[in-house]
């Protein structure tokens, strides 16, 4: 009810009366009527009571008329009584002393001959929420539970729960839970049964922490007899009570498969219910029951598809939203089930934003080889739309689909067309995407950079987009003619740049650019470092300091830190770990699905209720990584189904595991951007200019610029290369591999033996892949099961992009390996072959 201002500081809005004068008027009038028995009194009282209630609703404190209201309540007029109950229920808690006044008439009404009055009085009595009045509740509640009228019993069952919340001990001492249990299992009225069940679930869950008996009782609700009893009466319950029962059944652990099929057959027609809540509760039962039966579980997905789509399109937008959230959860678990229904997720122009946004997510999730073209075409329509938020979301969706790597070719063209639309927000969103795309598919750099180079940095204002553009300027400095000059002009406006993110990117980009094109960039670098060192933002300052000192220390080290060869990002980290996802799935048909968070993240412990499956999850790794955080998974094969080994089984980590960065840990070798470069074991410098001369001269330039007169850093002479040195961070994308494999002739083909230790160590393909990686030989694809394994490896010469490709078939029972080696540079294939064999021979050795 409306807040009494005493407890709430808000001032009444000007449209509402302040109420003081009105309330005292009311008080007077009520007094006059209290004793009156004149005809028409009840009508007059009704009008007054209405005024009181209406003040209460709009937030005027009318608690001062409490005693007058109680005095006037001696009436047989039920409308008056109900208004009085409403009033009393609202103010009793804050006026415990006055509440005592009401006990009398409420207790009397509890014995009225009209069951309606008995029920209403009992409900009000239990709703007073005054602790020192509980003693007056026990008697009326006890008789209410035994009342001959179902309405009174229904109210009494809820009354027990209310009593429990006021005083748990009083409730338990009066043995009310046991009475409720008896009633639940025997009452002829379904709503009484449902209320008993709701009350018991709440009471026993709360008691369970205190008493073992209560936790046993809570378990007993999930026993077969209780569940079957409730299920057999399912059609007697109204739709809301059905939801309560179904929620319970979803937690039931079936004894065998007959059990499961019995329940599913019984509930089958619930899927045709017009109430979405009933349908979702039923679906939850089906999904939970069949978790261990893969085939049936899949059939369930097929079965629930049509009802869900119907509910999505027939309900209010709010209902569609709830349905779509659930569809999204399901589609993440089984993307194929909706892949032919993608048109259902096309946006309608008059839908609210929140529905459209979910539909776009659905479209992204269902996109696969067969429908990507249509989906992307549709999304491009939205991108040109007048509805700007949706246009932005649509562009992001196109980008996400591109990163899922279906038909990238066509998508890149579309994205580049977006840039030609010359709408600021379209350009901004697209730039961010192009950046991500380039990190995953560096082979597209040529096409993208040509278009991006035409964009005037003046038209890009949004920080994220600006940062993306700057990143590209730095990363592809050698391909973009104007890069140093664009950066220079951006640095000139350093002070006007409000986003720290942009300034950070600017520093890094100008560093990269400098290392590739020193003479053109040195002025800009000097300016940037000077501005950076003076920057008030701590991170910007620190990064400028880091770069400055690095350059001071050794330019080649700086090169390694700032400009290492990048490994293509094969998987962008999922924002959610699979544990989180499983937990959300366990909490199907709850807010967890809408918020995409398990309940412990958004509810207080005491309010988790029956949904929370376990108590404490503090140690759970929560997916905090943003999509920008990358996992450079070393095994490209995991993501490229069609590469070479079309039919080969994917390793176990192909499953949900490879979503979360933590799971790749053992085999994790590629490292996120900068830190990787800090591993200094290798010389990766590949400057376009002769390093020694230009670098030292530019170092001087910096020193002069900053006027610090530091000693010139000298570039150390590279160590004499061994016969054949391999690049441990070699990158090769699967398509190029495939292409090369087709084009190159076989240089060497031979069979070699494998040591017994090697054979024992080769239990899974991963073991060997990890080993070989340690030897700078990378795996492109692998597959097979003992005794036959097949691998495709590749390696690159350090310092030049000359590749070696190897097909290696190992038969463990014969202890043999068959090698086929192809090389860009045929002359060194012998050297590589011996290197490869020696690497292989070390496998399995301690």
């Amino acid at each position: 009810m409306a807040p009494p201002p005493v407890y709430n500081q808000r001032s009444p809005s000007p449209s509402q009366p302040s109420g003081k004068g009105e309330v005292s008027d009311l008080k007077m009038q009520l007094r006059q009527l209290a004793g009156s028995r004149a005809p028409g009194t009840d009508d007059a009282k009704r009008d007054l009571f209405k005024k009181v209630i209406s003040y209460m609703t709009i937030g005027i404190d009318v608690s001062s008329v409490f005693s007058e209201m109680v005095m006037c309540s001696a009436t047989s007029d039920i409308v008056l009584k109900k208004m009085c109950y409403l009033y009393v229920g609202n103010y009793a808690k804050h006026n415990p002393d006055l509440s005592l006044l009401t006990i009398n008439f409420l207790q009397r009404d509890c014995k009225d001959e009209d069951p309606m009055i008995r029920g209403l009085a009992l409900r009000s009595l239990c709703s007073l929420r005054v602790a020192n009045l509980v003693e007056y509740l026990v008697g009326p509640l006890g008789s209410g539970l035994k009342d001959s009228n179902n309405y009174v019993r229904m109210v009494a069952a809820m009354g027990v729960l209310k009593l429990y919340h006021i005083s748990a001990s009083t409730c338990v001492d009066a043995d009310f839970p046991t009475t409720l249990k008896h009633l639940m299992l025997n009452d002829p009225d379904a709503q009484v049964v449902a209320n008993c069940l709701s009350a018991l679930q709440e009471i026993w869950s709360l008691e369970a922490s205190k008493s073992e008996e209560a936790s046993r009782e809570r378990e007993a609700l999930l026993s077969k007899p209780v569940v079957y009893y409730l299920l057999n009466r399912i059609k007697e319950f109204n739709e809301w009570a059905q939801c309560v029962v179904l929620e319970l059944v979803a937690k039931y652990v079936p004894s065998d498969s007959n059990d499961i099929f019995d329940i599913m057959n019984l509930l089958e027609d619930r899927l045709q219910h017009a109430n979405g809540a009933v349908v979702l509760a039923t679906i939850k039962v089906f999904l939970q029951l069949t978790l261990s039966m893969t085939d049936v579980h899949q059939q369930v997905y097929e079965r629930i598809k049509a009802p869900l789509l119907t509910l999505m399109s027939s309900g209010s937008p709010e209902q569609s939203y709830a349905m779509l959230s659930h569809l999204h959860l399901l589609v993440m678990r089984a993307p194929y089930i909706f892949s032919s229904d993608y048109k259902n997720f096309y946006c309608q122009y008059n839908e609210p934003f929140y529905v459209k946004k979910l539909k776009l997510e659905m479209l992204t999730a269902v996109a696969n080889e067969s429908n990507t073209y249509e989906i992307v075409t549709e999304l491009c329509e939205y991108a040109a739309n007048v509805d700007i938020p949706i246009a932005r979301e649509s562009i992001r969706a196109v980008g996400k689909i591109a990163l899922q790597q279906y038909d990238v070719n066509a998508i890149v063209d579309r994205l580049l067309q977006f840039l030609e639309m010359e709408k600021d927000y379209v350009t901004a969103e697209t730039l961010v995407l192009v950046k991500d795309l380039l990190r995953k598919y560096p082979q597209w750099s040529h096409d993208c950079i040509a278009v991006v180079g035409n964009i005037s940095s003046k038209n890009v204002q949004e920080p994220k987009a600006k940062a993306a553009l700057i990143w590209m300027l730095g990363e592809y400095a050698q391909d973009m003619q104007d890069a140093p000059y664009i950066l220079e002009s951006l640095i000139e406006n350093w002070d006007e740049e409000h986003s720290a993110e942009v300034r950070l990117h600017l520093l890094t980009a100008v560093m990269k650019c400098f290392l590739r094109r020193p003479p053109e960039t040195q002025k800009a670098l000097g300016d940037a470092l000077a501005s950076g060192l003076a920057d008030f933002h701590q991170d910007v300052h620190d990064r400028a300091m880091l770069y400055y000192r690095l350059l001071q220390y050794d330019v080649s080290v700086a090169e390694r830190v700032v400009n290492p060869p990048k490994q293509a990002v094969s998987v962008f980290a999922d924002t959610q770990s699979s544990e989180i996802k499983d937990r959300i799935f366990d909490e199907f048909n709850s807010l967890s699905v809408v918020y995409q968070k398990p309940s412990y993240m958004f509810t207080d412990k005491e309010h988790r209720g029956p949904f929370a499956f376990s108590e404490e999850l503090g140690s759970l790794s929560i997916g905090v990584e943003s999509a920008d955080n990358i996992v450079t998974a070393q095994r490209v094969e995991a993501n490229d189904k069609d590469l070479l080994l079309g039919t080969s089984e994917k390793e176990e980590s192909r499953g949900p595991g490879n979503n979360g960065s933590a799971y790749n840990a053992p085999a994790y070798d590629g490292s996120p951007a900068l830190t990787a470069a800090l591993q200094t074991q290798l010389d990766l410098v590949s400057l376009d200019h002769t390093p020694a001369a230009s670098v030292s001269s530019t170092s001087l330039a910096i020193d002069d610029l900053l006027g610090l007169g530091l000693p010139v850093a000298s570039t150390p002479a590279p160590p004499p290369p061994p016969a054949l040195e391999l690049n441990p961070k070699a990158v090769l994308d699967p398509n190029s591999f495939q292409q090369k494999w087709r084009q190159l002739p076989i240089s060497i083909s031979q069979e070699i033996s494998i040591s017994p230790q090697g054979i024992t160590a080769l239990t899974t393909p991963q073991a060997l892949i990890r080993h070989m990686q340690g030897q700078s030989i990378h795996c492109m694809a692998s597959g097979g099961q003992a005794p036959n394994f097949k691998f495709f490896f590749f390696a690159q010469k350090a310092k030049e992009s000359s590749n070696y490709l190897v097909e290696c078939i190992i038969n463990t029972s014969a202890s043999k390996a068959q090698l086929k080696i192809k090389a860009d540079d045929q002359s060194t294939s012998e050297a590589f072959s011996s290197l490869f064999q020696s690497a292989l021979s070390k496998f399995g050795l301690p």
């Binding site: 309560v244 119907t310 027939s314 008059n350 709850s590 309010h607």
Partner: protein, 431 residues
Amino acid sequence: MISQFFVLSQRGDNIVFRDYRGDVQKGSAEIFFRKVKFWSEDAEEEAPPVFNVDGVNYFHVKVVGLLFVATMRTNTSPSLVLELLQRIARVIKDYLGVLSEDSLRKNFVLVYELLDEVIDFGYVQTTSTEVLKSYVFNEPIVVDAARLPPLGPASLFMQGSKRMPGTAITKSVVANEPGGRKREEIFVDIIEKISVTFSSSGYILTSEIDGTIQMKSYLTGNPEIRLALTDELTIGRGGRSIYDYGGSSGSGAVILDDCNFHESVHLDSFDVDRTLSLVPPDGEFPVMNYRITQEFKPPFRINTLIEEAGQLRAEVMLKIRAEFPSSITANTIVVQMPLPKYTTRVSFELEPGAIIGGSEHTLRAKLTFSQELHGNITKEAGPVSMTFTVPMYNPSRLQVKYLQIAKKSKTYNPYRWVRYVTQANSYVARI
């Protein structure tokens, strides 16, 4: 477990406010309203129907411009609460005849009576208009529907546009007729909302019908009703793709992709003779919802031509052809077309007249721009969207063959109204 329920006006005033569990702070309505308001101001986006602020979950639905809100601390089924809020709105409408801010304010005591029985301590008890009758003692103060401010044709598609249009009935289930006797009558409306997207070359890209058989009964004594539908009705597309329609199967077959039913409906003979039997509860409720993606003939064809005519000018020609029989007239038609951003002046002429079946209407407009357009003008304008209502027409051709009411006596012959209406849900032509 629902903690509070309240209804807010568009300005954020409490019209009714009921606290069920006392575990959410009293100022929640203000917190809620501020959040929703700023959501749309900050991001130009609508607040989602469910959100969480400081551990309190807020659920809301919009009905006739009012916000129906529930709060709770526990994690519960969002679809249950959202459905419940819609249902509460419907029950209130059943009792008040008209659902509006005015009628709610006049009848708030009655609404409190309802709320007391619908939810107890946060648990839903019942939303059946019928069951609730025995608990409601206030007489509704009926707001005269005719005196309501005219909402205009767009009202049907206002907030919560997916809700069925208020059928013409604005009579409370408990109020008596002026004559004192209740009129025995039953309304069955077949309402089909259609969504069609035409490509720029006029092909149908997507089409869908979301249909509802809506019933509103004022029959005393709850007689059983049998509702027979078109014989040639198939349910489920049997896994066929949505592309192989097998011609337009002219035989009048109606293929539903899927459907669902109100809980009062018995389907015992549905498989045999497509008959639904039910004892209709009081009030308005959907007997059956269905979804069709089978190809159908769209009621309107839209042709749009936009051409540059000089550097700062363009011409638009918009042609709309009604492709239904001339005995039918469509009304409340609105055609919208977003124009390029730099348009400064539009002059147009429109042939006057209502759209009757078979007719064709053309709109010609001249546009003037403040600056030169770069690129393709068709990318800057459109798509054309259309809203309309076509009474006595339904594209699915699903028919009610008969409506049989179990007779209590020979003289018992209640009024039966079976009506068809088609509405545009999302009717879009790209250019």
